[in-house]
Subunit: 430 residues, 2 copies
């Protein structure tokens, strides 16, 4: 497959070299901003002393609170008049955060996004329907600019209005869509209800992102539409979409390391973790000129997938997002993420929709109990079968989280359901 740009297939040493140069430029730029200028001065950081990408660990983190305290413009490296775009989070109180872009920033963002789309075979001949909301949300304009850069026929459909989305899909024989996973499932139902059979559509690829989702959901989207769905990762603090993207192998999202210096750290200690271990993704921008961010704590939990990708790209792969750092449980000194438990449970066919993680204290010892709903057809009277299921779950969990949990099997619909985001963890320790 033809590369979109040379950087796409850089060797590891080329990536290291470009990271080193761009990190130096980034620090030099950042030091010109009021926020980083003061911070570097206070902490005695001399940008010129950072001589390799590994040195980044000696720099302080930047947090969402820092972004808020620098609101609106204390992180800019150049006058506001040099900026051409601004995206802001939706807060109307003091909690809003804002990212500014120069013309070059918009340009390199569009280019990164185009690279992502090109990687999964999207070309100028494709017709692309963008089902993201536009406006201040970066998912709309971000992917729009990428598609336009590639030369796709771009339909800026925006969010919602399923009947119309489907009409556009059919009338213009759309081949590629950008869609939020939960909406993809909803639209799939409307599609079937309205009789949009596969022969009426020409869909080939979906870009999915903007909300964490499981492998099972991706598979379901692929089946519902008869297409390939590729995971997209981004956040407005890092421009928006276009930060990391799956290749045709669908085994992790390559984070573009010529543009982003990525680390995985322990959310508690801030220490860098080796490839393979789950932790918080921390990113330093390497190309942004208007508003560089140094070691930004994304709060997103993931890991670097160890080993090489069959596609030949050396940009490391992020695993799917496993939740938010705030959700982390520490038990017996081990970091555990609810999403790890969920992934194990959902891989076991007998397990139903709902579960609850209960943390309790047994004397001096912390324990984890997992209450698991069993599907009706498997909730049999035969105790031997239930015992066997129980020990299968326990051992699979131990493999994943290194902790032996007590497993309570319960009947379907017996666990409390919460509106919206399910309450998955109950902490009874104290």
């Amino acid at each position: 497959m033809k590369a979109y740009c040379p950087e796409e297939f850089f060797s590891r040493s080329e990536l290291d070299k470009v990271q080193k140069t761009r990190l130096a430029t980034t620090l030099e730029r950042a030091a010109r901003s009021d926020f980083y200028g003061r911070r570097f001065a206070e902490m005695g950081i001399r940008p010129e002393a950072i001589t390799s990408a590994a040195d980044v660990a000696r720099l302080p983190f930047t947090t969402k609170d820092d972004l808020r305290s620098a609101y609106p413009a204390r992180m800019l490296t150049r006058p506001v008049s040099d900026m051409v775009r601004l995206h802001a989070s939706s807060g109307t109180t003091g909690s809003a955060t804002v990212i500014y872009y120069t013309r070059n920033d918009i340009d390199s963002w569009a280019d990164l996004m185009a690279r992502c789309m090109h990687m999964v075979g999207i070309r100028a001949e494709d017709t692309f329907q963008n089902m993201s909301g536009y406006g201040l949300f970066t998912g709309g304009l971000g992917i729009h600019y990428g598609a336009e850069r590639l030369g796709c026929l771009t339909i800026p459909a925006g969010a919602g209005n399923s009947k119309r989305q489907l009409k556009l899909l059919e009338d213009f024989q759309v081949s590629v869509i950008h869609i939020i996973p939960s909406y993809a499932l909803h639209l799939g139902t409307v599609k079937d209800e309205m009789g949009y059979t596969p022969d009426r559509l020409n869909l080939r690829v979906a870009l999915i992102g903007a909300e964490p989702h499981t492998a099972a959901i991706r598979k379901r989207i692929e089946e519902v539409y008869g297409i390939k769905a590729y995971n997209s990762y981004g956040l407005s603090e890092m421009n928006g979409p276009g930060v990391a993207f799956e290749c045709l192998e669908q085994s992790g999202m390559h984070i573009w390391e010529d543009a982003y210096l990525a680390e995985i750290v322990d959310p508690e200690t801030g220490e860098q973790l080796p490839d393979g271990e789950i932790g918080e993704l921390v990113i330093t921008t390497l190309c942004r000129e208007g508003m560089p961010l140094i070691r930004y704590r994304t709060k997103d939990l993931t890991r670097f997938i160890p080993g090489d990708c069959a596609c030949g790209r050396t940009h490391r792969r992020l695993d799917r997002i496993m939740g938010r750092a705030d959700d982390m449980i520490i038990l017996k000194g081990v970091n555990i993420y609810p999403m790890q438990v969920e992934q194990v449970l959902m891989s076991i066919p007998e397990v139903g929709q709902n579960y609850l993680i209960v943390l309790e204290r047994d004397g001096y010892l912390d324990q984890m109990r997992v209450k698991v709903e069993v599907k009706e057809e498997y909730f049999v009277e035969d105790m031997r079968e239930l015992k066997s299921l129980q020990s299968r779950i326990s051992s699979r969990l131990r493999d994943e989280i290194l902790i032996t949990a007590r497993i309570d099997l319960v009947e379907q619909n017996s666990l409390p359901k919460s509106e919206g985001k399910a309450q998955r963890v109950l902490d009874l320790r104290e």
Copy 2:
């Protein structure tokens, strides 16, 4: 004032020359589309026989129905894969219309829009908040691209959420907004309720368009915000916004005649009307390559304002949009538009909010009766004063529409109010 581009201050002869050349190119391109190819063949039209811009009158009109019948792609001059954007009207039934854009079309659209904004003093140093909905509606992306072309700091706020709009206006000291007139009035109320005093904001200019509005509404917007408001004209069939725009003189919207060949025609006969007479605006695209439109009937009623503009530009000026061609009344062989009546009434201080035009037959003669609400403080018992008001209205109307109407003065709130679009005309003839 510096010009944005040479075309902005072309002399009349330069404009005529460029129109002639571009009309020839446009016809040649159009003939390659399935739709125009057939039509030209059927009607024996040879594009090469059209040798001056005035010859355009020999070409057939294109209507919205033609657009529908050519749906989705029969008007394209090149393969769909050469197109990079598509905007569609909101219809989900057979009535949708669609406009395709090549990369050059997007580019020249952005350039026209930037020219409009530059004309009223908007520069790279400005911070611009776009309060238009994005997506398939051309007002959002169209003006966004123009502002970005100019290098303004662009805030893609999108429509609605007044509290947030105001917060953005204040926090980023926004100097220019794009806003729909009715929303501008609504937001002004919220602004005052929330205590956004003039010293907290930095607004200078509003671009207003997308719905017909009176001079009084523009004046009100200017007062509410303490700014200048400039009228913008466009329609998605002609790309979107950027077709015609007011200059600093605020006396009509210059239609960019290097890009659009404009005519005003009698909606009934299709005959061209001289400058100054009200009729339907008909436009031929001169720069569009993907999907040129020949003599497109906009249904919008306006006139060319006679005489030269003090700004020195020779691109002719459109008067504000006076309604839709479908609203035209024919009375005693005279074309009358409800908006003409409204403008006269609203210029008279004693007149209230509501009025009703009644068309009736008196023997063999058609007559117009106008029921006019009078403001409470003017609805006095002194019959002489009311008689005097009556004859003033009648004579002002006669000056405008050349018809002597019967005027009934009625009390405030006595005329039926309709939800949404007011019913202004009652036709009792048969």
